[in-house]
């Protein structure tokens, strides 16, 4: 029910020397679910706060539904927001905290009651409605903060790491709840998270930020499969993508004494066309694209590299292997069945069809 | 209609008094007012507002000041004796000679305190006096026989008084005399100026224009030396304890007529009586303090006749009698003395007599508050005998200080 246009927005805090957000340009469609990700301190909260109207916009225009709102007071923007640090009203009970926004809007008592109890049910807070925030656990507080925003039915929904203090199970169900709310109410949503699963599953589009600048905007798959640059590639995916500064030599990527692997023809053609033959490129390959299964190793014997396992972490369904090829470190994610003891040597097959290539200087994706 | 309303307004006299309407004095006044409203033949109606004052004069006098400064004085008001000159000088009040009947019946001290530059500005409706209250039991214990006690005709001289103190102190091992030296308000000049006058000294000259030559005279000094002597010898104290006399700590207590009632109601077991002021051995002249609150007409009174009639009524024989009787205070009119004395106890009778015989009004000075305070400071200075052993020096300095306030 609302579009949001951020036109080249800049933000510098009063006492700060540097811009916290630089040239932020993003056009959010009605009913879209946008997720902001980026390293700590990259300006996610700041951007959200500007949209909410809590921070002045230093430069640029912000439009909601096509109307410039740089100067509109937060209360007139009709936005619901979950704060990163909850910002609960300490003197009100959980119920009152959630009801406050509705009370202000003069919603009748019965409706308030219904909405709040419904939300409390969803959030598992029914037992705590009469408590004050100080008597809640961290996760309970966070759920109150979420509930306070949910009950509002606002056309725009801003959430700043709303699930960070919840356990995995609750997270999953909350995540589903948020997705459902989004589908039911068609709320335009901006969601800040550092949880990749959340980002991947919830987002229509993900915005990857770094140092106050947008690095890439795209659907989760796009971002995962075609990262715009080395930063995005490294940031998305856990464990992170492995990077190797290689030489492109005669259709092969060559890493000093470590390996020399043939590049699939289609990809090589593109690289060669752009003049990288004989030059340095950064090879990026995700941990899950290095295979230890016999099948793969047998099929692509040339792609096989020997690596020494340094650490081996078993995570239920899969195993993460921290290995070394000569001096180069890499992580690979293999099936739990292929658990290997540290110190052993293992054969890894690089699936270059799924690899990315970056310019060594600009670090932009070449393909 | 409109005109009768106006007439009614003109016949209404507003009045401010310094007491609470719940006090005996306030009640007596209310009664007087209702008599006045009923009995006066001109249809005057008096309306009173009761504005209780605090000891420092706060409240009532602040209110008068404020009214003066915003032109909202009532027609009739009460004022303390020493304020007469200042109020008359500033034209806050106006002469009332022509409204007051039977002036010759007024005690001379009353006339004196209400007169400024030869005109009567205010009439007192009561008198006050101070005496030395003594504890009979303690006197007996100290071996002072009744025959040694002074009378109005044969008061103790200061020397005799000092020797009595000495005996009391030696026998009882206590401070013999409390004269409220810690009270540096009006009390000081009111209670101690009689010593000065007894020695034929003075504070200012009779036209209130000079203090030098009077306040620093040798006669004045003799009185202050007497006070200093009392302190130095330990016969009195700079920091007396509250109700020390009443609870038998001090054998003698210099205080006003109001003490009688307190002793009678609260300290029934104490056996006491009152003695006259000690006198200067040179003159043997008995002098006692006087002074009281008075009625006056404000300069802005709308209906002077009505206001005059009210003042006259309240200060009249009947009006003042009503008040004085209710209060148990000294009468302001000679004709009331007998009536009041009739039902009064011996102490009261004694004070009335002392007042009649020896009452001395305080000087009429425009800047009276400053003079009064300077007097109190002088008393204080001489009682700090270690710092200021030389009484003459203190008086010289203080006389000069006073002179500044005299025009």
């Amino acid at each position: 029910m609302a579009t949001i246009d951020l036109d080249h927005i800049y933000k510098r805090y009063d006492k700060a020397e540097n811009y916290s957000v630089t040239d932020f340009d993003l056009h959010i469609k009605d009913n879209e679910f946008i997720v902001f990700v980026g390293p700590s301190g990259c300006g996610k909260s700041t951007t959200l706060r500007m949209i909410a109207g809590l921070e002045d916009i230093t430069k640029g225009t912000l439009k909601i539904n096509g109307k410039v709102v740089n100067d509109v007071a937060p209360k007139n923007r009709d936005i619901a927001m979950v704060f990163q640090n909850y910002a609960l009203y300490p003197h009100m009970t959980v119920f009152e905290n959630m009801a406050f926004g509705l009370k202000i809007r003069k919603v009748d008592k019965a409706t308030i009651n219904k909405k709040v109890t419904d939300a409390a049910k969803v959030l598992g807070l029914e037992a705590y409605l009469k408590r004050k925030p100080a008597d809640l656990s961290g996760g309970q507080r966070q759920r109150v903060a979420l509930g306070r925003a949910i009950v509002r039915d606002a056309p725009i929904f801003l959430m700043d790491e709303p699930l960070s203090n919840l356990d995995a199970k609750l997270r999953v169900s909350m995540r589903a709840e948020i997705a459902k709310i989004h589908q039911d109410l068609k709320t335009t949503t901006i969601y800040v998270t550092h949880d990749q699963v959340e980002a991947m599953t919830l987002a229509d589009r993900i915005v990857v930020m770094k140092d106050g600048k947008i690095q890439q905007v795209g659907s989760p798959l796009e971002i995962y499969r075609h990262p715009a640059n080395k930063f995005v590639a490294g940031f998305i995916g856990a464990p992170a993508m492995n990077f190797f500064n290689c030489q492109l030599e005669k259709g092969k990527v060559v890493l000093n004494n470590a390996f020399s692997i043939p590049i699939p023809e289609g990809i090589y053609k593109q690289l060669a066309e752009k003049g990288y033959e004989g030059n340095e490129v950064i090879l990026g390959i995700r941990p899950e694209d290095m295979h230890s299964e016999e099948l793969f190793l047998n099929t692509f014997p040339e792609n096989t590299v020997s690596a020494k396992v340094v650490v081996s972490e078993l995570l239920g369904s899969e195993t993460q292997l921290y290995c070394k090829i000569g001096d180069f470190e890499l992580v690979s994610k293999v099936d739990a069945r292929d658990f290997v003891k540290p110190g052993a040597t293992i054969k890894l097959g690089f699936d270059l069809n799924k690899a990315s290539f970056f310019d060594a200087k600009t670090e932009d994706n070449i393909l | 209609g409109c005109s009768s309303q106006k007439a009614q307004n003109q016949n209404t006299v507003t009045m401010w008094v310094h007491v609470s309407k719940d006090d005996p004095e306030g009640k007596a006044l209310s009664k007087n007012i209702s008599i006045f409203n009923k009995t006066n033949k001109h249809g005057y109606k008096a309306k009173v507002e009761f504005i209780p004052r605090s000891s420092s004069g706060g409240g009532y006098e602040d209110k008068i000041n404020a009214a003066v400064n915003s032109g909202s004085l009532p027609d009739v008001l009460t004022l303390d004796g020493p304020n007469t000159a200042a109020y008359a000088h500033s034209k806050i009040i106006q002469p009332i000679d022509k409204y007051i009947t039977n002036k010759s019946d007024l005690l001379p001290s009353i006339v004196k305190q209400g007169t400024y530059k030869g005109k009567l500005y205010a009439v007192g409706y009561q008198e006050s006096s101070v005496g030395i209250y003594y504890n009979k039991k303690l006197f007996k214990k100290a071996g002072i026989s009744d025959s040694e006690l002074p009378t109005l005709n044969k008061p103790w001289t200061w020397d005799q008084f000092l020797s009595i103190c000495k005996r009391l102190k030696n026998k009882l091992h206590t401070t013999p005399f409390n004269m409220n030296l810690n009270d540096r308000s009006e009390w000081s000049i009111y209670a101690f100026a009689p010593f000065v006058w007894s020695a034929n000294g003075d504070i200012v000259n009779s036209s209130s224009t000079k203090s030098t030559g009077y306040f620093d005279s040798a006669k004045t000094a003799s009185a202050f030396k007497f006070i200093q002597e009392l302190v130095k010898k330990g016969y009195t104290t700079l920091s007396p304890k509250d109700k020390g006399f009443e609870t038998g700590k001090y054998p003698m207590f210099l205080t006003g007529a109001w003490e009688i009632q307190s002793l009678k109601t609260q300290y029934k077991s104490l056996d006491w009586d009152v003695l006259p002021y000690p006198v200067s051995p040179e003159t043997k002249k008995l002098v006692s303090p006087t002074g009281s609150w008075q009625y006056a007409m404000s300069a802005t009174a709308k209906n002077k006749k009505a206001a005059g009639a009210l003042v006259n009524f309240l200060a009249s024989k009947e009006g003042s009698y009503n008040t004085d009787k209710a209060l148990g205070v000294l009468p302001s009119r000679k004709s009331n003395i007998a009536r009041i004395s009739k039902n009064a106890d011996s102490a009261m009778k004694f004070l009335i007599e002392q007042n009649e015989q020896s009452g001395h009004a305080r000087p009429i000075i425009v800047n009276y508050p400053q003079i009064s305070r300077t007097f109190a400071e002088t008393v204080q200075d001489v009682t700090l005998y270690q710092k200021n052993p030389n009484v003459e020096k203190v008086l010289k300095k203080q006389a000069k200080a006073m002179q500044k306030y005299l025009k």
Partner: protein, 281 residues
Amino acid sequence: MSRKKANLIFSTFLIMMLALFFIFPLVWMIASSLKQEKDIYSQMTSIFAFLPSTNPKDWGVAYQQLFSRFPIFRYILNSVVYAISLTAGSLIVNSLAGYAFAKFDFWGKKALFAFLISLMVIPGATLLIQQFQVAKQLGILNTMLAVILPGMSSPFAIYMFRNAFEAIPANVSEAAEIEGAGSFRIFWSVLLPMAKPTIATIGTLSFIGSWNDYVWPLMVLNDSNQFPLQVAITNINNTQPVYMNQVMALLAISTIPLILVYAFFQKYLVQGLGSTGNGDK
């Protein structure tokens, strides 16, 4: 455990002594109002000074005399009305101003605040006449307004409120703002309840200030039916002869409401904020 206990007993003893050192006049006042005047002074130097009369018959005497002397209830009612109105007014007016100074960047704010602070130095006691002249000009003499308005706004209270509001983390008011609360609503529903300790403090102090004021109400009121209790106190304390037990009884009557008001507001002072919702200040 036992050392802890010993510590507790020891500190309790010390603090108790200290407390007694502070409360003895109150005890003395109440004890004195419950005995005959002569006992007040004869017992002055003994422990009995702090105990009521041994004869319970004496207890009510001073109070009885007092009530027959003054219409105490009327005075108390007046005092209560003035004190409550002034306190309520002072809380509203000053907290609003404190809010503005803490949370808005209006033009001239700094200068105005500095000016406000400097106003604290003006000794009100010396301005009675001028204040009266102003009140007369406004035509509010002889009304309750004249009694309560001058004491209502106080730079000190504004200062207190500003500090309290500044201590509240910004994001709480931001949350309310996003939820659609207007400036006043934020103030009223969110910030003010969080400033309870300050409300309690300013409330207590305003109430006491108004309750103890004597000269000003007397100056601006003419009808003795409108006088506050302090007038009776000053009166009884200055009309010879002074009956100390009655004075003490009246002072006790006047002081106990203050203690109650204080104890009541105390609740909010203990309660405080606890920890803010996020503990993140």
